[in-house]
């Protein structure tokens, strides 16, 4: 193996290096503020370098593989994490966290490494390690807030649910191994997978992935964890973690399980309907914004399945495109909720009554983000949803599209409830005006930019589409 082969996995390597640097910094300095800044700057570098062009290829005897599409996915995750870091810089400075700043960054980076491996995996061992690396640190992050009961509760719920789901998934993988005889993706793709036992095994595997993406009925941890975890961790869970899992699932479905596509298409059909509907029905009744956004993200996962279900390059492109938009959009929403939570400690929808009077810019941003989530033009969410639906329609699933759009209408209802709270409802005692920190502003402005630009500027989509056919 030549040295330049390592270029192929530079995302992982760079992240590891960044992780180590933070670790060394943590050991060598007492000034935690600096660590925060250092991490952001380091990560900025990682993100930028990630965009440098590299060849495609395989490493470690096909255990690790990369392509332009995969690099793109990783870059998307990097961008999302970068925005998250910007948004978290102010939050992490609060007194209750000030002794564990570097933990936050290190845990996040390690999960990111795990996700990158997960996306790039060409073998189930690699996939499994990546998956666990992406999950276990998050459980620690969920329980990050030592002072709150719910944070510990979120942690325990996440780690145990995840352990269960991993167990079931592994059981499925073990049966696949037993029937195929290899754990290489390429071997698996070439094998006949069309027996009842393998179908069973596949569904066990799918359940594990469904857990990560929060598909119904594997989603129940989502709301509790989002609510209990610190808000920026929820934010990370809802976009980056979910995005990585979506990418992985899509790649695996499109490559490894290509031969049983008709089967998983039907499975996705059912799960998509369940996920959208149940997510929406729960979101309707939420009063806590974090919990609200949790269910909204469940519903969004259901929409994403509409892209995956297509099973062609069109579907892949629409999924990647949607996740990109979703990252900006949801980070925008979470960013506002986080900024307000940091400034006032309020997370209830009723607390937002009359917010526009005191904090017009944040209200507008939240409104834009919510509209984007609901799929209202001209913001990007519309384009994202439209292309997802196009992908589903491309496979002839018109009724599924119809159900999805009806669900989108229901989702509009609860998004509008928040808009109503901010713009219409009167409040004697609204959240007072506050000035956001510079980093927060940057984080939010990036979201605004993304929310507008990604949809209207078609090159973004075309760029993704270009790579999506080659898997």
């Amino acid at each position: 193996m030549r040295l330049e082969s390592f270029l192929l996995m530079r995302h992982e390597i760079l992240l590891t290096v960044a992780l180590l640097i933070i670790l060394i910094a943590e050991l060598s300095t007492e000034n935690k503020k600096k660590i925060s800044n250092l991490s952001v700057i380091l990560f900025l570098g990682v993100t930028v370098i990630g965009f440098l062009p590299v060849p495609e290829g395989l490493l470690f005897g096909e255990m690790y593989r990369t392509s332009h599409l995969i690099v793109l996915m990783k870059n998307i995750l990097n961008i999302g994490t970068l925005i998250l870091f910007f948004q978290s810089a102010e939050w992490i400075k609060q007194t209750e966290y000030k002794n564990k700043v570097s933990e936050f960054y290190m845990l996040i980076l390690s999960t990111l490494i795990g996700m990158n491996f997960m996306i790039s995996s060409g073998h189930f061992i690699m996939f499994y390690i990546g998956l666990e690396l992406a999950t276990i640190p998050i459980a620690a992050l969920a329980a990050y807030d030592r002072l709150k009961n719910i944070s510990a509760e979120a942690g325990i719920k996440l780690i145990l649910s995840s352990a269960l789901s991993t167990g079931i998934m592994l059981y499925g993988i073990s049966m696949l191994y037993g029937t195929v005889g290899s754990l290489y993706f390429s071997d698996m793709a070439g094998a006949n997978l069309n027996t009842p036992l393998q179908t069973l095994a596949f569904i066990f595997f799918f359940a594990g992935m469904g857990f990560k993406i929060s598909l119904v009925p594997f989603h129940l941890w989502t709301a509790d964890v989002y609510e209990g975890a610190p808000i920026n961790v929820s934010s990370y869970l809802s976009v980056i973690s979910k995005g990585a899992a979506v990418f992985t699932l899509t790649i695996i479905l499109y490559t490894v399980f290509y031969s049983i596509m008709p089967m998983w298409k039907n499975l996705l059909y059912v799960v998509a309907i369940l996920t959208m509907t149940v997510g929406n029905l729960f979101a309707l009744r939420q009063q806590n914004l974090k919990r609200f956004l949790a269910f909204s993200s469940v519903a969004q996962a259901g929409f994403i399945l509409l892209g995956i279900i297509d099973g062609s390059g069109l579907g892949m492109a629409s999924v990647v495109y949607f996740v990109l938009i979703y990252i900006f959009t949801n980070l925008g929403a979470f960013g506002v909720v986080s900024a307000i939570s940091v400034a006032s400690g309020k997370e209830h929808i009723d607390d937002y009554n009359g917010l526009y009077k005191t904090n017009p810019k944040l209200s507008l941003l939240l409104m834009l983000a919510l509209f984007s989530l609901a799929g209202i033009p001209p913001v990007a969410g519309f384009f994202g949803k439209f292309f997802l639906f196009t992908a589903a329609a491309h496979s002839g699933y018109f009724w599924l599209v119809f159900i999805a759009v009806i669900n989108a209408t229901i989702s509009l209802y609860y998004y509008l409830l928040v808009v109503k709270a901010m713009f219409i409802n009167k409040n004697e005692n609204p959240i007072a005006y506050f000035k956001s920190a510079f980093t927060t502003k940057v984080g939010l402005l990036l979201c605004v930019f993304g929310i507008f630009a990604i949809g209207l500027l078609s090159p973004v989509y075309e760029f993704i589409r270009m790579f999506s056919n080659i898997l």
Binding site: I125, A140, A143, A152, G155, I156, G178
Partner: protein, 105 residues
């Protein structure tokens, strides 16, 4: 020697372990016990992998290695889980899973 024990015996054992694990996960009240149930599930998987490898595909060691990784990762997982359980204990003053339900609906 091994050949006198058919593969199905291993599979039966692993399946039993799997379901015992699941049952334990669903019924035990103590968080530690639940964690142990999860370990049972993972071990049943390990038995599967090793047995399949040994009986069906002895020329490669993919199954064995997978089992090794599962063991290693499970250890890490258990470590984190126990740390969180301690945190739960500090907050709730017990580790009964049914008490840990402040967030719902």
């Amino acid at each position: 020697m091994l050949s006198q024990i058919p593969l199905s015996y291993f599979l039966i054992v692993s399946t039993l372990m799997f379901f015992i694990g699941v049952y334990g996960f669903l019924t035990r009240k103590n968080l530690i016990t639940i964690l142990m149930s999860v370990e049972l599930i993972l071990n049943s998987v390990n038995i599967n992998f090793v047995a399949f490898n040994r009986y069906l595909y002895p020329e490669q060691l993919q199954g064995h290695f997978f089992a090794l990784f599962v063991i290693a990762v499970a250890a890490a997982e258990a470590a984190v889980a126990i740390a969180i359980i301690i945190s739960v204990y500090r907050k709730f003053m017990n580790i009964d899973v049914e008490r840990v339900d402040t967030m719902k609906h």
